[in-house]
């Protein structure tokens, strides 16, 4: 991997409120001009809304939220008070199974998309069909993590982007072979995009321009297959 040139992280503003059935690819192409090699980062929230992965909850009854969280979980790792850290049926380990009450209409909860890699592929294909440009697409969500306070955005789906860049077998700057260096570039891309989105501002899409071409790929590659660590290999599950 050669040193990338300067990177630009461009917020996509002016998108309308996203509702079920919204054509995200079309809306993105209408709001910004994309170039070959761009990576478009789309937050889970608008993907879930467009796909109708939204359910009613009773704001006065915390149990109605909890029932959805339990249903979306296949394995509970930890509980503390109202917080549940679980593995979702998609394989993500996160708080409250990714079921989220913020930035949705009052009285509703946004679930994770059924298959975020498929969601990313659809947006990528839609952008190519509409604009003729070949981009990568990352679907991002906001997760906590052990040991460190605060949340960061990570990737829950990708298309046209290599989730993990495998540098094993390449040499460091001293010519010594890099032993264990698989870089989760797709999570770094999601984190970078969050810096222009904020949490309170309704900017659900950003474009990352100038990435090393080694990050992009045309063969199938997915967060689920390539980034999620199998439970058997995991020291903390």
């Amino acid at each position: 991997m050669t040193a990338a040139p300067e990177l630009r992280i461009i917020p996509v503003t002016g998108l309308p409120e996203i509702t079920r059935g919204a054509d995200l690819a079309g809306l993105i192409c209408g709001a910004t001009e994309l170039l070959d090699g761009d990576v478009v980062v789309v937050t889970q929230k608008v993907v879930s809304k467009a796909e109708g992965a939204v359910e009613p909850v009773d704001p006065s009854d915390p149990l109605s939220h909890k029932v959805i969280v339990e249903r979306e979980s296949v394995r509970v790792l930890r509980r503390r008070g109202e917080l549940v850290i679980s593995e979702t049926r998609h394989g993500f380990v996160c708080a409250n199974a990714g079921v989220d009450l913020s930035n949705v209409q009052a009285g509703t909860a946004a679930l994770l998309p059924e298959d975020s890699d498929r969601s990313a592929r659809r947006i990528r294909d839609g952008i190519r069909a509409r604009s003729g440009v070949t981009v990568g697409v990352v679907v991002s969500d906001t997760f906590g993590r052990p040991w460190r306070r605060g949340v960061t955005d990570v990737a829950i789906g990708s298309a046209g982007v290599r989730p993990v860049l495998d540098l094993r077998g390449t040499n460091d700057a001293y010519g010594r072979e890099l032993a264990v260096t698989e870089v989760a570039v797709v999570d770094e891309i999601a984190a970078a995009a969050e810096l222009v989105m904020g949490k309170a501002t309704g900017v659900p899409v950003a474009v990352v321009r100038g990435l090393d071409p080694a990050v992009l790929c045309d063969e199938p590659a997915s967060v689920r297959d390539d980034l999620l660590r199998p439970a058997a290999d995991d020291l903390f599950r």
Copy 2:
């Protein structure tokens, strides 16, 4: 937090090989033109080298590396084969206590800096003294994490940057108060910078330009005090 404008991630190239006693602030000012509000991300490796936090190891004897790892650890969380996940004496939870054999001279290992927040402060002060600009500084390192494959860059020290942006009490795009939203911006900044550094290319410094001014601060704020989760609050320790 209002939507940030476009962000630029600029690799700083042309730095010489860093050795003990190197004046990192001076070298960075000589290699690139900085602006007020920039955040300069410096990898742990060059900070450790400049501070002399490097020790000899015998490449033919794995035990010589292991002895340093054990000495730098205060609590071992997991072991598997040669891999140790431990809490370092600084409070970081990471593999092999952050003791690293790549991108250093053969026969040496780079340790974590004694106090990475202080390292960041020194670089920040040095840049201000030399160039008159007020920047933030983040010292970054490459850590793995549970549940997801691959490594990402995170912050191990900061100065002039708020490690965690506390959005509690602000409203989402629907006017509903955001409940638990503390964003670990300093880790997102480190991750973004990695995208222009690569692992094999010897680009140890990057500039992040265009960040929301809410991220910057002049009061003392540190990764150690603000970002590391106390063991008692941690569900995975």
